[in-house]
């Protein structure tokens, strides 16, 4: 016998699917199976059950070996590291809930930290662009119900957001979109013939790194102005045709991903994509949306937004919040030797930062909170395993369209394990004691 938990939220990607069903053993300790999830989401739930899971903190020894320590010792090390630091980097925050993010921010205020989230290597340049030109957008349900023109630019949902096209953007039938996929024109812009591109009506195989030029060309084409014969490897005839396709829709949406945020021009690519969307609102209705990666990277940007006014890269070291990507962003800080301690939670810079930055973490006092073994836990001095948010504890998470959803607890964490929030609250309390506050 098993009981079924319904309306479960998937804590993997920014699509934040909330229709999963998980069958759990009667005693509520074991996950037996996961329904409605994509391959990645299902794996996340099932792996939480791994037999070889680390359930107690580990401290790296001189000889590189690891020694199990108590949560108390872990709290003490983390608190002391932060309290002694003149400029700690507190990085990650994307795979945890908003309550932990808020508690962590209070910790950052007390110790005068730089707070940065995974947007810094994902959609940070999108946030810069939004600050420069804004962003006309909408919730995913609007696309489900209204959209008849869909552009995926530099993103590959078939792989990165596996249920996006079936739940929201391409296949479903909504209020004004009774024909489903048949009623929608799908355009993909990507230098590779991705599995997403293979399902598109039109694929523009752009020359890598020339998105800014092609986006500009579309704005020129909307106005019917002159274009060179080829832009970014795309013939001008095609550009004029696709421009007309965009204009002719009733409701269009441009989704974009790391293909533009991480390629040359970065924020300018997004900036111009947003301007393309602005222009299209002179002719019909268009919106644009970033395909956010981590399931709650959006949430950390919101929490920091309401507490300190910036979505990432906040420097709290001087007792007030400052912000300037290029200066207060993780990779610049690490490479420029601007920080003297690193605290990582809910992310894996060891795997996803350029090695030059990872080496710097290796050289510094460092703590990593993560349920898994990762390259980051391998380079940090202290590894604090925690319960899986969205599996073993609930809490708020923000979908890629900023819609907040309450995650569900499905099973208990292993005996005696702490959640992110519990560990952070204990560190806050200890730091306050040390600072005599």
């Amino acid at each position: 016998m098993a009981k079924m938990v319904t309306d479960v939220i998937c804590p993997f990607c920014g699509t934040l699917c909330d229709d999963l069903e998980v069958s759990v053993s009667d005693d509520g300790t074991k996950i037996l199976d996961v329904y409605n999830a994509c391959a990645i989401g299902a794996e996340k739930f099932l792996h939480s059950q791994a037999k070889d899971r680390v359930t107690r903190p580990r401290m790296k020894q001189e000889d590189g070996s690891w020694k199990e320590v108590s949560y108390d010792e872990a709290v003490e090390y983390a608190a002391k590291m932060l309290a002694d630091s003149r400029k700690p980097l507190m990085y990650g925050w994307s795979s945890t809930n908003c309550e932990a993010q808020a508690a962590g921010t209070e910790l950052g205020e007390i110790v005068g930290a730089v707070m940065d989230n995974t947007a810094t290597v994902c959609h940070g340049t999108t946030l810069i662009a939004v600050q420069d030109v804004g962003v006309p957008s909408c919730t995913l349900g609007e696309i489900l119900n209204r959209a008849d023109r869909i552009v995926f630019w530099g993103c590959n949902p078939a792989h990165a957001h596996p249920r996006h096209m079936s739940r929201y953007s391409i296949f479903p039938r909504g209020f004004f979109t009774g024909k489903g996929a048949k009623g929608r024109k799908m355009v993909v812009v990507d230098p590779r013939v991705t599995d997403t591109a293979k399902t598109a009506d039109i694929h523009l195989q752009i020359e890598q790194g020339r998105d800014f030029e092609l986006l500009t060309a579309f704005r020129v084409a909307f106005k019917g102005e002159w274009l060179p014969d080829f832009v970014a490897g795309i013939p001008k005839k095609t550009i004029y045709e696709v421009a007309d396709t965009m204009k002719s829709g009733r409701f269009g949406i441009l989704f974009f991903g790391m293909g533009v945020t991480q390629s040359l021009s970065k924020n300018h690519n997004i900036d111009q994509a947003i301007c393309v969307t602005r222009d299209l609102n002179e002719y019909t209705k268009w919106n644009i949306m970033p395909m956010r990666g981590h399931y709650n990277v959006t949430g950390s940007g919101q929490v920091w937004g309401w507490l300190h006014g910036f979505p990432y890269a906040l420097d709290l070291s001087r007792g007030f919040a400052r912000y300037n990507p290029g200066d207060t962003t993780s990779n610049d800080l690490l490479v420029r030797d601007e920080v003297d301690a690193v605290f990582v939670i809910g992310s894996d810079p060891g795997a996803h930062f350029p090695n030059r930055s990872v080496k710097k973490i290796w050289d510094l006092p460092s703590v990593c909170m993560d349920p898994h073994l990762t390259p980051t836990t391998a380079v940090c001095k202290l590894h604090v395993p925690v319960a899986f948010v969205g599996v073993e504890t609930g809490g708020c998470a923000y979908r890629m369209d900023n819609v907040p959803i309450e995650c569900r607890k499905v099973v208990d964490p292993p005996e005696g394990m702490l959640t992110d929030l519990e560990f952070l609250e204990r560190v806050v309390a200890r730091v306050k004691e040390m600072k005599g506050a």
Partner: protein
């Protein structure tokens, strides 16, 4: 809990009818009490100062998704403006869109005890409540938006008041909401296709219901339920020259409807930021644009079932934000500044655009004048409330400056003569120059305390120092007997000497000394079972919402950790 005796202050209390007499004020266990009820109180010497109940803000955008967008996409307005942490006081940042920490502290510094978040998109209710939770000191509540909601559009097309009411009651419970907000009725749904509804008679595309039907229907549904607050409307064509006729058509929808509730509220329609809706002329050109404040207020003065707030333009660089999606698009086309839009499935939309009200332009000057004219022409201060539609017409920290303009003709003349570049054109095209009235401190207490508290159905808790009321007392360093310079008004009301909130001192000698114990107010309204509405809700979630119905309700403790629930029984 503590006891306080505030002695020798000049007290202004419209409910008790105290007009500046020296009366001692007593607080015990979080409530106002008779001085005789105190055993051994801490004494606060308020001699030479003004004492009022904690102020009540009926309309400000202080928490939620569009506010957070305003913060996150304007780093430039935070530059060199931060206030560092100090003791228990946390870091503060921002100007026109302050962080929630600065929001709570600044309201406290101005002597406020309660603030209404004016527009909550239901699908984003969690976000609104998280921000409210993290805003220190002040009690808050939020109004979900209904005027473009598909359920409402479908029900009101056929004038199904009972179904509309059942849906309202359900949504208030799901979102932990307080009342019925109605922004650009129908126009925002039309914006889903890039269109708008400029007048109350333009049918909504596909749904084929008019703004007039939506406005009247929501008033009727609101009174059917007997909610604490009335239907709260931001009418069509905000900011458009000549829009005063649309405003009058909107107000007329309330004719003949009587308030029906158990909270002492007497009005059925609240029109917000009336300044933006009292324009004449065909264009923004100084030859055409003119004030129609008199025409609008003459109607409001005659209709005793209407309240309104001003929405005074403060001539700052600010950030506009509203659920009026088409308006923000219109605005960005005018000023070419960055534009955020968010369309929310089945429910609403929102837009955000920075805006500079420059005293060097005629239009900003005229807008400044029109807002003040409405306050000065209004016959009943108990139905007239001070706001800046924060942050749309200006940041809320400018309220004391607005008080100054309302209370001093000299201050207004100084603006017209020395600050506004087109002061004389403003005198020509508006009424401001002809008005001698100066609002009194007693009237100010009506417009910022007793009035808004009554309109929100909270007169039993806020707006007065009467024994039994909440222990919210503000002491301002303003001496009504000796003070002559109008600047004193702005200075004093910006920097309360003391604020007692819920019986606890949070501002002492002008400094924040406590993060308070703020509460989130919401209305739990019971209605008869309504199988049709339940079916409609299940159907819409199954087919058209991007979240499951089971994940819609704001239920978890961490969203509303300190609730104050107002129970309403609307079962027949």
């Amino acid at each position: 809990m503590a006891e306080y005796l505030i002695k020798n202050g000049f007290v202004y209390d419209p409910v008790l009818g105290i007009k500046g007499d020296k009366v001692d004020v007593a607080v015990k266990d979080g409530k106002m009490v008779e001085t005789s009820a105190l055993s051994n109180p801490a004494e606060i010497d308020a001699s030479g100062m003004t004492v009022m109940a904690g102020a009540v803000d009926i309309h400000a955008h202080v928490a939620g998704p569009k506010v957070c967008v305003g913060r996150n996409f304007r780093p430039e307005e935070k530059l060199f403006r931060a206030k560092p942490m100090a003791g228990i006081k946390r870091m503060e940042g921002g100007f026109s869109v302050p962080t929630v920490l600065k929001t709570g502290y600044d309201y406290a510094r101005m002597g406020f005890g309660f603030v209404m978040e004016a527009a909550m998109p239901p699908l984003y209710a969690r976000h609104v409540h998280e921000e409210i939770r993290d805003t220190p000191i002040i009690d808050e509540a939020a109004l979900p938006v209904f005027g473009n909601n598909w359920f409402v559009l479908e029900y009101l097309k056929n004038h199904e008041i009972e179904n509309t009411a059942a849906y309202i009651a359900w949504l208030l419970r799901m979102t932990r909401g307080f009342g019925v907000k109605n922004v650009n009725p129908g126009g925002t749904e039309a914006w889903g296709w890039g269109l708008n509804c400029p007048t109350v008679n333009d049918p909504v595309p596909y749904f084929d219901v008019t703004p007039a039907q939506i406005i009247r229907g929501l008033i009727e549904a609101n009174e059917y339920l007997g909610l604490p607050h009335c239907m709260h409307v931001h009418s069509n064509s905000l900011g458009e020259p000549g829009n005063f006729t649309v405003t009058l058509d909107t107000l007329k929808q309330a004719e003949g409807i009587k308030a029906r509730n158990a909270f002492g509220r007497q009005q059925v329609l609240h029109h917000t930021h009336l300044q933006f809706h009292s324009y004449g002329g065909e264009s923004y050109a100084s030859k055409s644009f003119e004030s129609k404040s008199k025409e609008v207020i003459d109607y409001v003065n005659k209709q005793d079932n209407i309240t309104f707030d001003l929405g005074v333009v403060t001539l700052d660089e600010t950030t506009t934000m509203t659920a009026d999606g088409p308006f923000e698009h219109h605005l960005t086309e005018l000023n070419h500044l960055k534009w955020v839009n968010t369309d929310v499935e089945l429910e609403t939309a929102a837009g955000v655009v920075p805006y500079i009200y420059s005293p060097k332009t005629f239009i900003a000057g005229a807008q400044w004048a029109i807002g003040l004219e409405l306050g000065l022409f209004a016959k009943d201060p108990m139905r007239t409330f001070v706001t800046t539609d924060h942050p749309n017409a200006g940041p809320f920290i400018r309220y004391p400056r607005v008080y100054k303009w309302l209370m001093s003709k000299a201050a207004r003349e100084d603006m017209l003569d020395n600050v506004l570049k087109y002061g004389n054109t403003v005198r020509d095209r508006c009424y401001i120059g002809e008005i001698d009235r100066e609002i009194t401190l007693f009237e100010l207490a009506q417009m910022t305390r007793a009035g808004p508290a009554k309109a929100l159905g909270l007169e039993a808790m806020f707006g007065s120092l009467k024994p039994g009321m909440e222990g919210d007392v503000a002491v301002y360093p303003y001496n009504p007997e000796t003070s002559e310079d109008p600047e004193d008004i702005e200075l004093a009301f910006s920097n309360a000497q003391y604020l007692i909130k819920g019986g606890e001192i949070v501002v002492k000698e002008g400094q924040i000394v406590s993060n308070g114990n703020k509460r989130t107010f919401w209305v739990n309204c019971k209605v008869d079972e309504n199988p049709q509405v339940e079916r409609d809700i299940a159907e819409k979630f199954k087919r058209y919402y991007s979240v499951n119905q089971g994940n819609y309700e704001v239920y978890a403790h961490h969203y509303v950790p300190n609730p104050y629930v107002i129970e309403v029984d609307a079962t027949q």
